[in-house]
Amino acid sequence: MNPANYLYVSVLLFVIGAIGVVVRRNAIVVFMCIELMLNASNLAFVTFARINGNLDGQVIAFFTMVVAACEVVIGLAIIVTIYRTRRSASVDDANLLKR
């Protein structure tokens, strides 16, 4: 199969994730969309590794997974504190800072 097709999938996933971040209001869902975008980048890296014929892209994919795991730890900690305080994880409810 033509490796360029994987690239289209990765762009599609990235766009779906980006639209999700903009449209969805629940912080957890927004965060999941961000993870989707990270994985879209991973797919692009692996595809390019195949196209370019070297392993650098696959190595980056591993680094990205580790970084994404760290981000989950930090992100869920922040979202859970917010939820415990307000009983809501909606990003629209967090609006005290708009003066």
Binding site: F14, A27, S41, L97
Partner: protein
Amino acid sequence: MVSFDIPQLSYFLLGPILIVLCGAVLAVVVEAFLSSRTRPKVQLGITLVTLVAALVQLWRIRGATTMDAAMGSVAIDGPAILFQGSILIMALLGVFLIADQQHFTVVASTLPGSSEERESLQSGEQMTEVYPLTLFAVAGMMLFPIATDLITLFVALEVLSLPLYLMAGLSRHRRLLSQEAALKYFLLGAFSSTFFLFGSSFLYGYSGSVSLSGIQAAVSSSSGNSVFLFIGIAFVSVGLLFKVGAVPFHAWVPDVYQGAPTPVTAFMAAATKVAAFGAMLRIFYTAFDNAYWEWRPVITTIAIITMLFGSFVAIAQRDVKRMLAYSSIAHAGFLLSGVIALNKAGLEATIFYLFAYGIVTIGAFAVVTLVRDSQGEVTDINRWAGLGKRSPMVATAFSLFLLAFAGIPLTSGFIGKFSIFSAAYESGNTLLVIVGVLSSAIAAYFYIRVIVLMFFTNPSEDATSVVIPSFLTSATIISAFVITLFLGVFPSPFLNFISSTATFIR
């Protein structure tokens, strides 16, 4: 069969970063095992010793110029040393402010307003996780501007960002605002770093290499699919412009600056700018320089919008921290003109401006930590009226910092603005210089308005008081004051030092 080479690391040249990371790990261990009585002092000691040791190690490697420190993943050169030095000095001053634990929540996991929170406040215990978090962030910041491949850049970006997301949520007063700032900073920061990563993947696809030198070689030979290059440059720029707070990507800046504990804001505002602009300079000067006709028009437009937007919106602000946040957006625009200049003068000017601006920022936020009432800090500008009559010293220091932001002669801000605009002019970008000078004039209006308010308005009724600064806080304000004046009056030794060392190796 792929052969596997044993990596050769130069621990001596990587010393400053490794020292900071070791200090951070040690601080985590101390946090877990030491009793809560002794912890704050020990943590502060470890942090300060670590930062000073890293500065000493940096001084020992000051002449080094090599790409081989970590198998070509980091570059040790003049700008690298200057960026790392600036970050370490700002971190030291920032830690002096962080040492005032009045600003930080006692136990971050307790609910705001709950009985656990009151109990933990009364017990006198103090969690001190902010120190290791600071050190981890500093290590990431030191790695970001010296990284020369996409993996190291991405990892450094995350190492510097993740601790800052948490630190933004640690405020003791107005905890809801602080948690909200952490959430916004985290979601938008993670969003932008996915853009950086996606852009990196296209740069890798374009060039077949993850190193900046490989990308540069592909750009100059214009081999490969140029659509990949456009997408790569655009997305990586979005990630970087978010970190510096340039205009379409600035939404987090005012909220996070206002919501985060003020010492964290001071440290973050100063040091993150150095790290992000350092990486930006290195990427644009060493990897994308031959493709400048693709990114220069866009970044020029962004710089112009950023300068004007920051200056205009700052006029309407009624909150000191928000005003300083919008002023930092305007300054990001000025700094971008140095990046666009794409000449040696632009590089030198940006390095000088970053240092000068960072020191002034820390000084200004240090003053903000001092003006309080019974509820904590007072950031409403109108309640600062008459501050000059009640505490002339503090008001004078704040006025000097505001004048330096405005770029009035005899302050470091003037030298910074002058050198950055002359570099932009030298590169033939007259429009940028004109807009820059105009928006500086607009910005001067609201800086001077605050000075007039402090010195020539009668104090309002409600009781705000300036607390007696702790030794470390006054040390921060005095050193920021002295450096700002010194760089404004005798800039030449420092400018000569920068110009003798600031050349990127490729």
